[in-house]
Amino acid sequence: MTTLMKLMTVLEFDINKIRSDFPTLNQTINGCPLVYLDSAATSQKPQSVINAITEFYTSQNANVHRGRHSLSEQATNLYEQARDKMAQYFNVFSNEIVWTKGATEAINLVANGLKKRLDKSHTIMISPLEHHANIVPWQIVSQQTGAKLVSLPLNKNGTLNTLECCDFIKQIRPTLLAITQVSNTLGNITDLSPLIRVAKEVNSLVLVDGAQGALHLKPDLRKLNCDFYVCSSHKMLGPTGLGVLYGRYEELNALDIYQSGGEMIDKVYLTHSTYRPAPAKFEAGTPNISGVLGFSAALDYLNELDHGKIQRYEQKLFNYAAKKLVMIEGITIYSNLSDNIGTLCFNFNNEHPYDLATLLDGYGVAVRSGHHCTQPLMAHLGVNGTVRASLTFYNTFEDVDIFIHSLKKCIALLD
């Protein structure tokens, strides 16, 4: 890249400062500097998140909601403040935020919570872009209730045609539309607003899988107007073992309870029990307290950065990488090169993605290979698997250079 381009980027976005916040990035793998291009699987964590977890276990550790002693009160306050922060991030109310184990559990919670209302007169609509987490729970609910499971039409190239989809929704009038904001495999962003508008016209509930979108797009959920939105802390700079379910309050509270046990109950007798209102009724048992407090620090970190800057930087990085990748002979890119959060999904000739990913690792480049938990999408694209390189704002133009350079060397090795 030109010096001018570099300079402009620095002015816009202090990447060196950012990188110094992420200790994991500063290491060598197989003797090479780590080039981490697997953030779509899980993001790295800033030091402040690690510090928050350490501090919790070092001086604050206690169970929440049940204790009269200082440690427990403190933990409870921090735990509930994190909920407020999450609500602010999405522009919704705190009591519309449920902490779950992950995006997967959040979808399962909703699927289970709607079950009683479904029968064979109902239809659940998904898309062929979905992660298994947004397919299998609906298959199971459909098998259990008789509700039909249908899929939106997908263009050959892995994008959804807005008009076609809107027509399809109008025609089918699904009870629920469960759809991803961003494809985890391709990085393609779907413009959900028109789809949700139509879905609302036909009184359809809408669940948005935001596992990939929540960090990169920072959606305003009031504006998006979906009923449910799910995401995972570990893909948003936060700890593992924690997810988020947003639910428009009436819809959330109307869901059947999911797990039961402590915390979510009001009164328990040996024969029957009563439950608390949402969000409490969906948070049975001791929660992932350190996960919530670590995630709280991640949200602080994100709030301090300017989200517009992040997005502009990620777009530049993506365009730079895409341009370089396209130029390598034999490479097929499956990702849409516009409207993309920064993910490059590709193959080299007929080589197995496993081999490429393994060899890239030799050069310290961490990419993912396989079906990326999207087997139906793989079938749609007519491949068994792909290589996926996913960029995030802590990646650099140098990362891209090393990636491309190493990829060429791996290709040479395969010859």
Partner: protein, 138 residues
């Protein structure tokens, strides 16, 4: 804030140690009338308190000022309830909205013991009162 509040909190404010503060709070609680059992109904329970707090928030006959009565099964929370009652009782809804109860408690040197967590129900009690006042103002 009412004069009652200033008066009843004098001794809490002047108490040199937390033990005395608690003692004064509990004494204050004892001054509250005991709610008849027939009024200790589930609907009056303030949700989210570890101890039981029954609270009724009404307006007086002229519909201009707040009347709060309540009870609790614990001494400390009953004392805190008495504090809250002293703080808000007799105020107009407009006055109620303007008061920052936490600030008042801070001045009494109570905040470190009265964190706004769910446990003691302070937050829930104040919210119940403020919500009523808010509805009246609108």
């Amino acid at each position: 804030m009412t004069n009652t509040f200033k008066k009843v909190t004098e001794s809490i404010k002047n108490a040199p140690a937390w033990q005395q503060k608690y003692r004064e709070i509990m004494l204050l609680g004892k001054t509250l009338p005991i709610l008849p059992e027939s009024l200790k109904i589930d609907d009056a329970l303030v949700p989210g308190c570890e101890s039981k707090v029954w609270m009724f928030v009404e307006f007086d006959l002229t519909e201009s000022s707040l009347v709060v009565i309540g009870d609790s099964d614990t001494r400390i929370v009953k004392g805190l309830l008495a504090l809250i009652l002293a703080l808000y009782n007799g105020l107009t809804p407009e006055q109620v909205i303007k008061i920052d109860a936490y600030e008042e408690f801070e001045k009494l040197g109570l905040i470190s013991h009265l964190s706004p967590s769910r446990g003691n129900g302070i937050k829930a009690m104040i919210e119940k009162i403020k919500t009523m006042a808010q509805q009246k103002v609108l």
